[in-house]
């Protein structure tokens, strides 16, 4: 029996993530929602979701004493970061007057800004909320059977700017082009919510639960 651990550190709508995973796993896999270092360490695959503010997320990670557990999982097994679970993987975020993050990858999380406009000059709302197109910038096992430029559900006010272009596997345009999916080795992380993205999202989660972490 394979175990997929969804890390519970009190941030965000974890119920949605576990329900969607339960919908796509095969009969030899089970999904657990856990705050336990031991359970995450023992799991075969790890999902790291997150919602809310960067500082609260980082505080919660330390409060639950999960920092090393998360970093360890990201170095060793198939690992899926979602939304804030992607943003906190990089060095730092502008949010809350500057927040140091997990620092696994070079990069900065920045605010969309109040003066965001589309190509026609129309003012854009923040948060970026709704279905936007994800352009696959390079092939990856998690993009399998998902059309390029498929729409996924987004909700965020801050976006990722990677310093290493090699990290990017997907981008999105909202006033500006930003990295909405990154991947390296056994890690895949995305800004949008596959658990709320209907067929494309369920396909991505299916690809993840079937992924062995290799490229």
């Amino acid at each position: 029996m394979q175990t997929i651990a969804v890390i519970d550190y009190g941030m965000g709508n974890l119920r949605s993530v576990t329900k969607a995973l339960e919908h796509v796993v095969d009969k030899n896999q089970k999904v657990i929602l856990t705050s336990s270092q031991k359970e995450v360490a023992a799991a075969d695959k790890v999902v790291f979701p997150g919602q809310g503010a960067a500082r609260d997320c980082m505080l919660a990670i330390d409060e639950y004493e999960l920092r090393e557990t998360i970093l360890d999982a990201a170095r060793n097994k198939p690992f899926l970061g979602i939304c804030m679970g992607m943003q906190v993987l990089v060095h730092s975020s502008e949010e809350n007057g500057g927040t140091a993050c997990l620092g696994l990858y070079p990069g900065q999380v920045k605010y969309f800004g109040g003066q965001l406009k589309d190509a026609k000059g129309e003012r854009l709302k923040v948060p970026h909320m709704g279905w936007n197109q994800v352009t696959q910038t390079r092939p990856h096992p998690l993009w399998s059977k998902i059309d390029n430029n498929s729409r996924f559900y987004f909700v965020h006010s801050y976006y990722l700017e990677t310093e290493s272009p090699d990290l990017e596997v997907g981008h999105c345009v909202y006033g500006k082009s930003f990295t909405c999916a990154l991947a390296q080795d056994n890690v895949f992380a995305m800004q949008c919510h596959p658990e709320k993205s209907a067929d494309a999202g369920l396909q991505l989660l299916t690809n993840f639960v079937q992924w062995d972490g290799s490229l």
């Binding site: 923040v126 279905w131 909202y174």
Partner: protein, 257 residues
């Protein structure tokens, strides 16, 4: 290419059944919520909103079980409003599988509640629902006031001032219902929609009055709404969501296929 405008079917739920009133009063039965949600998801709804209009607090649990059932089968954003009065209510709905909660009356009586809920759970899951009614007389400058208790009680609060404040307090989205238009099928109050949309930095969902495909498109093109919400035209099978999307696309609006 960019963000799509959202089409949101709304299910008013009373004791576990979907119903739709005209001007908040006359109630018609429209079916089983889980079945409705499943069908809308298949037709391409971008989100689903449930408004719990159950009068008795004894029956509050019916909506929790319903949300749990829907969230196990439908993987698009779900919003639940109605009877959200304290932090525990927000948590209960999110735990049942809702992605966002709609706060209406409780925000008016205790605006700090919106701040607390946004701080605790993040702005992304806090929708402030606003019921607005035009109160200016003809000849006067247009003015809208917000109403509570399902549109029965006036508050004296100016609608534009209110949405600006809710934006500041951390609301992630405004669900704006025109009480003058709700259930009338005469189209949105697009002047209200446009003014609210220009006042806030967060997305606005237009609601109240949709009767035709043109109305849906006008909400975006004239009312500057980021999403359009309708109930009866979907429940009674007058239009399918796919038809609305095809039409909106023909008017140059970006939608999710």
């Amino acid at each position: 290419m960019g963000l799509a405008k959202r089409i949101i079917p709304c299910l008013d739920v009373d004791n576990g059944r979907v119903v739709k009133g005209v001007k908040f009063v006359e109630i018609r039965d429209a079916g089983d919520p889980v079945e409705n949600a499943r069908r809308y998801n298949l037709e391409g709804a971008d989100e689903i909103t449930f408004l719990d209009i159950t009068a008795s607090s004894d029956n509050r649990d019916t909506i929790v079980h319903m949300v749990e059932a829907v969230a196990s089968e439908v993987f698009i954003p779900l919003t639940v409003g109605g009877g959200i009065r304290e932090i525990a209510d927000v948590r209960r709905m999110l735990n049942a599988g809702a992605d966002k909660v709609g706060i209406n009356t409780a925000a008016v009586f205790n605006p700090e509640f919106v701040k607390q809920a946004a701080d605790r759970f993040g702005s992304q899951c806090i929708v402030v629902a606003v019921d607005a009614k035009k109160v200016s007389q003809s000849g006067e400058e247009n003015r809208w006031e917000i109403f509570t208790h399902g549109g029965r009680k006036g508050t004296g609060i100016d609608a534009l001032e209110w949405v600006a404040r809710m934006d500041q307090y951390g609301a992630g989205e405004i669900l704006l219902t025109s009480m003058d238009r709700d259930g009338t099928k005469q189209g949105f109050d697009n002047e209200l929609n446009r003014l609210v949309s220009e006042t806030v930095k967060i997305p606005v969902i237009a609601s109240g009055g949709v009767g035709t495909l043109e109305h849906m498109a006008d909400g975006v093109l004239i009312g500057k709404a980021d999403a359009v919400l309708a109930a009866s035209i979907f429940h009674f099978g007058e239009y399918r969501i796919s038809e609305v999307k095809r039409y909106m696309k023909s008017r140059g609006i970006e939608v999710r296929d």
